[in-house]
């Protein structure tokens, strides 16, 4: 008798579950469609129309082949996917682009873009603005003529967005940054490759980002974590940079003049500028002719009362350093020349410019803001000592990184729902 009751209860639950399922099915209006676009005549009109008419839940499949566009494309529908047949198979070529400041512009939420390439856009390749939820997976952006200042500025360009994922992507040839995330929150950039850009990967004025397992090589600078004033979102913080290879960044700076990235010297592995709560660990930094790792303040003029130009709570630990500083780019910006002069040619693996509020430069950083370095003994370090400089020392530097040892407080991993 007991067994029967349990069986009855089980059946009742199954029936209920089924009833609930049926109710939901009929209540929901979302019946997702698959829309297929193939190469051929009028491809731009067909593809753009599909992107406009698609509805939430739909998947737009761009079949493998070569597509050439004279105009940019735009997507403004929430909750859709645009999927090619692969970054080598579905090629969207914008070398003949006559209008449009991007290759593809996305302005809607919960969008997934996967498995296609955007080549030779006249401006930025893929721009995503104001999105809550954007997944960019296995995509390639490339300028195929090599590093040139006439190339577009950004390969991947999400800005003012939240829950940003860049995974398994490839960025080549951008005249500013290959993979760039700006003024956004909750970001993961992983498993991606950035090569032959000015900046390989750049996180700017953003909050909560994990940048890991990426390869940044043959850029001017491999990975940049920047914070700039006079922008709607600033005070970048909580950035983890780990398990990346930032190596052999040996491309001359080809940014068009006037851009701040034009100050980055050839041969920088990672630059941390301003920003708070940055953890740099388990990376391989090698083959960077100016410096493997540089931590600096923003030193340009600004009247922005809300902006704090100095880095705070930067933790550097367990990284591996290969050859660095063997070919400093002293003609670009100030960093390389300053470092070369002040180190008398003994270029360090890690450089901190030592710039902060005057009280800190004299009395040292407070415990809750200070730079922490925990690396092997043979890793070299240099910082400029304002105190020594003011006291007239001929060599106003400190090179003992043991003074910067401390307890590492690991930052929390970034969590994006469903990832």
């Amino acid at each position: 008798m007991g067994k029967n009751i349990f069986k009855q209860i089980k059946n009742l639950y199954c029936f209920r579950a089924f009833a609930v399922f049926v109710a939901i099915f009929f209540a929901s209006n979302i019946i997702s469609k698959e829309i297929i676009v193939e190469p051929g005549a009028n491809a731009h009109e067909r593809l753009q129309e599909a992107m406009i008419l698609m509805e939430e839940g739909d998947i737009l499949r761009i079949k493998s082949g070569y597509y050439s566009f004279e105009d940019g494309l735009s997507l403004d529908v929430d909750g859709v996917s645009v999927v090619g047949d692969g970054m080598e198979e579905t090629i969207l070529d914008f070398k003949d682009q006559k209008a449009g400041a991007q290759g593809l512009l996305v302005t809607s939420d919960k969008v997934t873009l996967k498995d296609f390439s955007i080549l030779d856009a006249k401006g930025d390749a893929l721009k995503v603005i104001g999105a809550k939820g954007i997944n960019m997976i296995n995509l390639r952006t490339e300028w195929t003529g090599g590093p040139k200042s006439t190339n577009g500025a950004y390969g991947f360009y999400p800005v003012e967005s939240e829950d940003v994922l860049i995974d398994g992507c490839v960025a080549i040839g951008a005249s500013d940054a290959g993979i760039y995330v700006g003024q956004s929150k909750n970001i993961i950039v992983r498993n991606s490759i950035a090569q032959y850009n000015v900046a390989g990967i750049e996180i700017e004025n953003s909050y909560y980002a994990d940048v890991y397992n990426n390869l940044a090589s043959h850029n001017t600078g491999g990975i940049l974590i920047f914070d700039l004033p006079d922008l709607p979102q600033q005070g970048g913080h909580h950035i983890r940079v780990f398990e990346n290879q930032s190596i052999d960044n040996d491309t001359d700076n080809f940014a068009p003049e006037g851009n701040i990235v034009g100050e980055v010297p050839r041969g920088t592995g990672i630059i941390i500028m301003a920003n708070s709560d940055v953890e740099v660990f388990n990376n391989l930094l090698s083959g960077n002719g100016t410096v493997n790792l540089s931590i600096v303040s923003y030193t340009d003029e600004t009247d922005d009362p809300n902006y704090y130009p100095h880095p705070r709570r930067v933790q550097v630990h367990n990284n591996t350093y290969g050859p660095g500083g063997f070919d400093p780019d002293i003609n670009t910006g100030e960093l390389a020349k300053t470092l070369f002069d002040i180190s008398n040619g003994n270029m360090p693996d890690i450089f901190w410019d030592g710039v902060g509020p005057l009280s800190q430069m004299i009395f040292g950083q407070p415990d809750d803001e200070k730079l922490i370095i925990s690396e092997d003994s043979e890793v070299t370090f240099l910082t400029i000592s304002a105190l020594k400089y003011m006291m007239g020392f001929s060599n106003p530097t400190r090179t003992d990184k043991e003074e910067f040892k401390g307890v590492i407080n690991p930052l929390e991993p970034i969590n994006i729902d469903g990832i």
Binding site: E70, L75, A101, I129, E160, D303
Partner: protein
């Protein structure tokens, strides 16, 4: 006796979910090709207008019978459901000779449906007797003869639905941006006489009120006006829809809408943020006294898709505006 005046405009079609294939289905015009509207479709002009590759524009407003648009301070009138804003773009065949005819390119519609505004453009056929919905936009290669007898041509782009939203947006929803009380505060020659448009709209009972005190923008083409007022008016309408704290370009920190007063946000000695090669190798948006060193002027002059500003809406350089802005920067004090 029955009132036999039937309103010709298809009210139901304006508020229905889908847009019809043909513009004529709306029945806005008595004579489509000659662009003569039905009586209840009222022509209007704005004081300060957007540059669109030297194309001419005719605008009309339609508000359904017994409804009125509500006046909103510093914003467009709040039009009731069922309203339509209609704008035809065309080039004359020869600017010196109006009787040579017009080349109608497109008629853009902003329709106020139950849930909000929707926009789409209709491109005119070669026969010039019908316009067809173009969701994805269209390229039209146009040629015309200008005032001084020169042959001009342009690769004219009819915008797609997403591009409408680049400027026509407020809080991520499509919105009209032209018919603000302050921008229609001018005289127009109507069939029944010359009237100030605000007065006329009141008389036609399509608006509920308007303020007597209005700070209207200057017509930037009016060379008798102060150059700063002219330029600010031009930048507001051509740039300010994106370059404002609520527009698409708010991430840049460059704000060119009418109410901006802070030098750095207006571009003076402002460094570019994500301009890329749009900077043209220059360092600041505006260098007072030095137009040739100013990124803003450089991007106004450019016709390169990766450099030009606005990003969409033009293919040609607005030569006259470039001259005006160049002078403005030249005269600017530090």
């Amino acid at each position: 006796m029955l009132c036999t005046k039937l309103y010709a405009v298809n009210d139901n079609l304006i508020i229905s979910e889908a847009f019809p294939e043909k513009l004529s289905d709306f029945s806005f015009f008595k004579d489509s090709s000659a662009q003569i509207p039905h009586e209840e479709v009222i022509p209007y002009e704005l004081i300060s207008t957007l540059f669109s590759d030297y194309s001419y524009k005719q605008r009309w407003v339609y508000v359904p019978k017994s409804k009125k648009a509500k006046y909103e301070e510093d914003w467009v009138f709040n039009f009731p459901t069922g309203s339509a804003l209609i704008k035809t773009f065309y080039y004359p065949v020869d600017e010196r000779n109006p009787s040579a005819g017009k080349q109608l390119l497109e008629t853009r519609l902003l329709l106020r449906k139950e849930d909000g505004w929707e926009a789409v453009s209709y491109a005119w056929n070669k026969e010039q007797n019908e316009a067809y919905k173009k969701v994805a936009g269209k390229t039209i290669n146009v040629a015309w003869t200008d005032f001084v007898g020169e042959e001009k041509e342009v690769r004219y782009r009819v915008p797609n639905v997403n591009q409408c939203k680049e400027c026509h947006a407020a809080d991520d929803k499509i919105s009209p941006i032209g018919p603000k009380a302050r921008n229609i505060n001018k005289e127009l020659e109507f069939e029944d006489g010359n009237f100030n448009q605000l007065v006329y709209w009141m008389n036609r009972e399509i608006i509920d009120e308007y303020p007597l005190e209005l700070n209207s923008p200057v017509d930037w083409m009016d060379e008798s006006k102060n150059i700063n007022d002219r330029v600010r008016s031009y930048l507001d309408v051509n740039c300010g829809h994106c370059h404002s704290p609520t527009g698409n370009a708010n991430s840049t920190g460059l704000y060119l809408h009418l109410n901006e007063t802070r030098d750095i946000h207006l571009g003076k000695y402002k460094k570019p943020v994500a301009t890329g090669r749009g900077s043209g190798g220059l360092k600041y948006s505006i260098v007072p006294g030095k137009p040739e060193e100013s990124i803003l002027l450089h991007r106004m002059e450019s016709m390169d898709p990766g450099v030009m500003m606005p990003e969409s809406g033009r293919a040609l350089t607005h030569e006259e505006a470039v001259v005006m802005v160049r002078e403005w920067i030249l005269l600017m004090q530090n």
